[in-house]
Protein backbone atom coordinates (compact mmCIF):
# COMPACT_ATOMS: atom_id res chain seq x y z
CA UNK A 1 0.00 0.00 0.00
CA UNK A 2 1.28 3.46 -0.88
CA UNK A 3 2.23 5.85 1.89
CA UNK A 4 0.55 9.23 2.27
CA UNK A 5 3.71 11.06 1.15
CA UNK A 6 3.93 8.81 -1.89
CA UNK A 7 0.32 9.57 -2.86
CA UNK A 8 0.86 13.33 -2.52
CA UNK A 9 4.12 13.13 -4.48
CA UNK A 10 2.48 11.17 -7.32
CA UNK A 11 -0.41 13.62 -7.50
CA UNK A 12 2.05 16.50 -7.39
CA UNK A 13 4.10 15.14 -10.29
CA UNK A 14 0.95 14.53 -12.33
CA UNK A 15 -0.32 18.03 -11.65
CA UNK A 16 3.08 19.57 -12.45
CA UNK A 17 3.08 17.79 -15.80
CA UNK A 18 -0.47 18.98 -16.54
CA UNK A 19 0.22 22.54 -15.39
CA UNK A 20 3.35 22.51 -17.56
CA UNK A 21 1.24 21.28 -20.46
CA UNK A 22 -1.22 24.12 -19.89
CA UNK A 23 1.56 26.72 -19.73
CA UNK A 24 3.19 25.33 -22.88
CA UNK A 25 -0.20 25.46 -24.62
CA UNK A 26 -0.66 29.04 -23.46
CA UNK A 27 2.82 30.03 -24.59
CA UNK A 28 2.44 28.27 -27.92
CA UNK A 29 -0.16 30.71 -29.14
CA UNK A 30 1.80 33.86 -28.25
CA UNK A 31 1.99 35.96 -31.32
CA UNK A 32 -0.64 33.94 -33.16
CA UNK A 33 -3.20 36.72 -32.74
CA UNK A 34 -1.13 38.99 -34.95
CA UNK A 35 -1.26 36.57 -37.88
CA UNK A 36 -4.92 36.75 -38.85
CA UNK A 37 -8.38 37.33 -37.42
CA UNK A 38 -9.19 33.63 -37.37
CA UNK A 39 -5.91 32.84 -35.64
CA UNK A 40 -6.59 35.64 -33.15
CA UNK A 41 -9.96 34.03 -32.34
CA UNK A 42 -8.35 30.61 -32.01
CA UNK A 43 -5.66 32.08 -29.77
CA UNK A 44 -8.34 33.59 -27.53
CA UNK A 45 -10.09 30.22 -27.17
CA UNK A 46 -6.81 28.36 -26.57
CA UNK A 47 -5.77 30.96 -24.03
CA UNK A 48 -9.06 30.55 -22.15
CA UNK A 49 -8.82 26.77 -22.36
CA UNK A 50 -5.20 26.63 -21.14
CA UNK A 51 -6.00 28.99 -18.28
CA UNK A 52 -8.84 26.87 -16.94
CA UNK A 53 -7.01 23.66 -17.81
CA UNK A 54 -4.07 24.79 -15.61
CA UNK A 55 -6.36 25.88 -12.79
CA UNK A 56 -8.31 22.61 -13.02
CA UNK A 57 -5.07 20.60 -12.87
CA UNK A 58 -3.97 22.40 -9.73
CA UNK A 59 -7.44 22.14 -8.16
CA UNK A 60 -7.42 18.40 -8.91
CA UNK A 61 -4.05 17.99 -7.24
CA UNK A 62 -5.31 19.64 -4.02
CA UNK A 63 -8.74 18.00 -4.04
CA UNK A 64 -7.62 14.52 -5.05
CA UNK A 65 -4.84 14.42 -2.46
CA UNK A 66 -7.27 15.50 0.22
CA UNK A 67 -10.08 13.18 -0.90
CA UNK A 68 -7.86 10.14 -1.41
CA UNK A 69 -6.05 10.54 1.89
CA UNK A 70 -9.31 11.16 3.75
CA UNK A 71 -11.06 8.14 2.27
CA UNK A 72 -7.99 5.94 2.65
CA UNK A 73 -7.43 6.90 6.27
CA UNK A 74 -11.13 6.40 6.95
CA UNK A 75 -10.98 2.96 5.34
CA UNK A 76 -7.89 2.09 7.39
CA UNK A 77 -9.64 3.30 10.52
CA UNK A 78 -12.65 1.11 9.77
CA UNK A 79 -10.39 -1.83 9.00
CA UNK A 80 -8.54 -1.27 12.29
CA UNK A 81 -11.86 -1.24 14.10
CA UNK A 82 -12.73 -4.53 12.39
CA UNK A 83 -15.82 -3.19 10.64
Amino acid sequence: MRSNKRIIWEHFTDSVVLIGLGIVLDLSIIGASSLSRGMAELARWVEMFSKWFTIAAFAQFCIDSLVQLTIRNYAELRRARGE
Partner: protein, 171 residues
Amino acid sequence: MRPRLAFRQFEFLSYLVTAAVLGLAGMFLQASGATDLLVASVIVILAISIRTSVRMAQLHEWEPERVAKGPGVRIDDLEERCKACERENGRLSADLEETRSQLIKLKALEHELVSKVLESRIDDLERRYKIREQQDRRLSADLEQTREQLSALDAKIKITEKRNVSAAGAT
Protein backbone atom coordinates in the same frame (compact mmCIF):
# COMPACT_ATOMS: atom_id res chain seq x y z
CA MET B 1 6.82 -3.12 -12.72
CA ARG B 2 4.27 -3.17 -15.50
CA PRO B 3 1.00 -3.24 -13.50
CA ARG B 4 2.19 -0.35 -11.32
CA LEU B 5 3.02 1.67 -14.47
CA ALA B 6 -0.40 0.84 -15.93
CA PHE B 7 -2.06 2.07 -12.77
CA ARG B 8 -0.04 5.30 -12.78
CA GLN B 9 -0.85 5.79 -16.46
CA PHE B 10 -4.52 5.31 -15.68
CA GLU B 11 -4.33 7.89 -12.90
CA PHE B 12 -2.50 10.36 -15.10
CA LEU B 13 -4.99 9.85 -17.93
CA SER B 14 -7.81 10.37 -15.47
CA TYR B 15 -6.19 13.66 -14.39
CA LEU B 16 -5.63 14.72 -17.98
CA VAL B 17 -9.17 13.94 -19.14
CA THR B 18 -10.73 15.62 -16.12
CA ALA B 19 -8.55 18.71 -16.53
CA ALA B 20 -9.40 18.85 -20.24
CA VAL B 21 -13.13 18.56 -19.55
CA LEU B 22 -12.95 21.19 -16.84
CA GLY B 23 -10.80 23.40 -19.11
CA LEU B 24 -13.40 23.14 -21.86
CA ALA B 25 -16.19 23.88 -19.38
CA GLY B 26 -14.29 26.92 -18.10
CA MET B 27 -13.57 28.07 -21.62
CA PHE B 28 -17.22 27.95 -22.67
CA LEU B 29 -18.39 29.53 -19.42
CA GLN B 30 -15.91 32.38 -19.78
CA ALA B 31 -16.87 32.81 -23.43
CA SER B 32 -20.52 33.03 -22.41
CA GLY B 33 -19.65 35.98 -20.18
CA ALA B 34 -19.33 34.42 -16.74
CA THR B 35 -16.97 36.05 -14.29
CA ASP B 36 -13.65 34.45 -13.36
CA LEU B 37 -14.83 33.83 -9.82
CA LEU B 38 -17.96 32.03 -11.01
CA VAL B 39 -16.00 29.91 -13.48
CA ALA B 40 -13.40 29.05 -10.83
CA SER B 41 -16.16 28.08 -8.38
CA VAL B 42 -17.84 25.85 -10.97
CA ILE B 43 -14.51 24.21 -11.82
CA VAL B 44 -13.69 23.58 -8.18
CA ILE B 45 -17.15 22.11 -7.51
CA LEU B 46 -16.95 19.91 -10.60
CA ALA B 47 -13.41 18.81 -9.66
CA ILE B 48 -14.55 17.93 -6.14
CA SER B 49 -17.50 15.90 -7.38
CA ILE B 50 -15.52 14.10 -10.11
CA ARG B 51 -12.52 13.24 -7.93
CA THR B 52 -14.72 12.18 -5.02
CA SER B 53 -16.79 9.95 -7.30
CA VAL B 54 -13.66 8.35 -8.76
CA ARG B 55 -12.09 7.77 -5.35
CA MET B 56 -15.30 6.48 -3.80
CA ALA B 57 -15.55 3.99 -6.67
CA GLN B 58 -12.05 2.82 -5.73
CA LEU B 59 -12.81 2.74 -2.00
CA HIS B 60 -12.27 -0.99 -1.70
CA GLU B 61 -9.43 -1.07 -4.20
CA TRP B 62 -6.62 0.74 -2.41
CA GLU B 63 -3.96 -1.70 -3.48
CA PRO B 64 -2.74 -0.36 -6.84
CA GLU B 65 -1.69 -3.80 -8.05
CA ARG B 66 -5.22 -5.04 -7.70
CA VAL B 67 -6.63 -2.18 -9.76
CA ALA B 68 -3.86 -2.47 -12.30
CA LYS B 69 -4.42 -6.17 -12.84
CA GLY B 70 -8.12 -5.63 -13.43
CA PRO B 71 -11.26 -7.53 -12.50
CA GLY B 72 -9.59 -10.91 -13.02
CA VAL B 73 -7.66 -10.34 -9.83
CA ARG B 74 -10.87 -9.50 -8.01
CA ILE B 75 -12.42 -12.75 -9.27
CA ASP B 76 -9.30 -14.64 -8.17
CA ASP B 77 -9.49 -12.89 -4.82
CA LEU B 78 -13.16 -13.77 -4.47
CA GLU B 79 -12.43 -17.36 -5.44
CA GLU B 80 -9.64 -17.49 -2.87
CA ARG B 81 -11.95 -16.08 -0.23
CA CYS B 82 -14.63 -18.57 -1.28
CA LYS B 83 -12.15 -21.43 -0.93
CA ALA B 84 -11.04 -20.09 2.45
CA CYS B 85 -14.69 -19.92 3.51
CA GLU B 86 -15.24 -23.48 2.30
CA ARG B 87 -12.19 -24.65 4.24
CA GLU B 88 -13.47 -22.83 7.31
CA ASN B 89 -16.90 -24.35 6.75
CA GLY B 90 -15.37 -27.83 6.50
CA ARG B 91 -13.38 -27.28 9.65
CA LEU B 92 -16.46 -26.05 11.48
CA SER B 93 -18.47 -29.04 10.23
CA ALA B 94 -15.75 -31.40 11.48
CA ASP B 95 -15.78 -29.59 14.83
CA LEU B 96 -19.55 -29.92 14.96
CA GLU B 97 -19.39 -33.65 14.24
CA GLU B 98 -16.71 -34.11 16.87
CA THR B 99 -18.77 -32.16 19.38
CA ARG B 100 -21.82 -34.28 18.57
CA SER B 101 -19.88 -37.53 19.04
CA GLN B 102 -18.47 -36.19 22.32
CA LEU B 103 -21.99 -35.31 23.42
CA ILE B 104 -23.18 -38.84 22.62
CA LYS B 105 -20.22 -40.26 24.57
CA LEU B 106 -21.00 -37.97 27.48
CA LYS B 107 -24.63 -39.07 27.47
CA ALA B 108 -23.53 -42.70 27.48
CA LEU B 109 -21.15 -41.94 30.35
CA GLU B 110 -23.95 -40.18 32.17
CA HIS B 111 -26.20 -43.23 31.76
CA GLU B 112 -23.38 -45.47 32.95
CA LEU B 113 -22.75 -43.23 35.94
CA VAL B 114 -26.45 -43.15 36.83
CA SER B 115 -26.70 -46.93 36.53
CA LYS B 116 -23.59 -47.34 38.70
CA VAL B 117 -25.06 -45.05 41.34
CA LEU B 118 -28.31 -47.02 41.27
CA GLU B 119 -26.43 -50.31 41.52
CA SER B 120 -24.48 -49.06 44.52
CA ARG B 121 -27.75 -47.93 46.12
CA ILE B 122 -29.28 -51.35 45.52
CA ASP B 123 -26.20 -53.02 47.02
CA ASP B 124 -26.43 -50.76 50.02
CA LEU B 125 -30.11 -51.54 50.46
CA GLU B 126 -29.44 -55.28 50.16
CA ARG B 127 -26.65 -55.03 52.72
CA ARG B 128 -28.93 -53.13 55.11
CA TYR B 129 -31.70 -55.65 54.48
CA LYS B 130 -29.37 -58.53 55.41
CA ILE B 131 -28.29 -56.75 58.58
CA ARG B 132 -31.93 -56.18 59.53
CA GLU B 133 -32.69 -59.82 58.77
CA GLN B 134 -29.86 -60.95 61.08
CA GLN B 135 -31.08 -58.56 63.78
CA ASP B 136 -34.60 -59.94 63.32
CA ARG B 137 -33.36 -63.52 63.66
CA ARG B 138 -31.37 -62.63 66.75
CA LEU B 139 -34.36 -60.87 68.32
CA SER B 140 -36.60 -63.84 67.52
CA ALA B 141 -34.12 -66.17 69.21
CA ASP B 142 -33.99 -63.83 72.21
CA LEU B 143 -37.77 -63.78 72.32
CA GLU B 144 -37.93 -67.54 72.18
CA GLN B 145 -35.33 -67.84 74.95
CA THR B 146 -37.23 -65.32 77.06
CA ARG B 147 -40.48 -67.25 76.55
CA GLU B 148 -38.76 -70.45 77.58
CA GLN B 149 -37.36 -68.72 80.66
CA LEU B 150 -40.79 -67.32 81.38
CA SER B 151 -42.45 -70.75 81.13
CA ALA B 152 -39.71 -72.22 83.32
CA LEU B 153 -40.31 -69.48 85.85
CA ASP B 154 -44.07 -70.14 85.65
CA ALA B 155 -43.42 -73.81 86.32
CA LYS B 156 -41.17 -72.95 89.26
CA ILE B 157 -43.83 -70.56 90.62
CA LYS B 158 -46.48 -73.26 90.34
CA ILE B 159 -44.25 -75.75 92.10
CA THR B 160 -43.48 -73.24 94.82
CA GLU B 161 -47.16 -72.43 95.23
CA LYS B 162 -47.98 -76.14 95.55
CA ARG B 163 -45.22 -76.52 98.13
CA ASN B 164 -46.56 -73.54 100.02
CA VAL B 165 -50.11 -74.94 99.92
CA SER B 166 -48.94 -78.39 101.16
CA ALA B 167 -46.82 -76.74 103.85
CA ALA B 168 -49.76 -74.69 105.03
CA GLY B 169 -51.95 -77.87 105.14
CA ALA B 170 -49.36 -79.66 107.21
CA THR B 171 -49.20 -76.90 109.76
